[in-house]
Symmetry: C2
Subunit: 110 residues, 2 copies
């Protein structure tokens, strides 16, 4: 379950704004605040099955966006390369390294 939660949260970071407000709420309650389906159902006065269906459809939408835009996989390739740059900079004490490290750190925050 943890692996799935991590995956959904990463997808949600990228594509969350493309979901409806209701889908966003349910994803956040379930995957970020760890409420159970029953708890969400109670809060929204709908059936547990309806909550399950809505969350399932939302996750499926997130995966569809990733299949089209590949933002998560591109993000992971970028992180890998940023870390490689930092490794190389740490291996050598060269001129300009502090400035380079600052830029890479800014890139990681983008």
């Amino acid at each position: 379950m943890l692996e799935k939660t991590t995956r959904v949260n990463l997808l949600y970071d990228f594509y969350g704004p493309l979901l409806t407000k209701k889908q966003q709420n349910f994803i956040e309650l379930y995957f970020q605040h760890n409420l159970s389906l029953g708890e969400i159902a109670e809060e929204y006065k709908i059936s547990r099955q309806a909550v399950y269906d809505l969350i399932k459809r939302s996750v499926s939408s997130l995966e569809k966006f990733e299949n089209k835009l590949h933002l998560c996989s591109r993000h992971m390739s970028q992180r890998e390369k940023y870390e490689k740059i930092i490794d190389i900079l740490n291996d050598h004490e060269n001129q300009g390294n502090d400035e380079l490290k600052k830029i890479v750190s800014d890139l990681m925050d983008l």
Copy 2:
């Protein structure tokens, strides 16, 4: 017009896969192959106004995606930082620079 074309083509690079096949075709014909509205209308046997409306709605969709996901503006910030890294590397002849330049060049291709 050129500025708008550049903007639409950049947006299309990022969000094109989220448009319908028909929207994609029209955007490509108009903004990449530089066909006129009349030429597209003739090819698709629809009115010039219909072509205009479809293209206008498609561009508006692309802008809406950008307002939600900010991929273009993030992309431009990244490019700026990659170029800064290359400038710093070119200013100093240090150990590991060739390897770093290669990684940044890979990042630019992502």
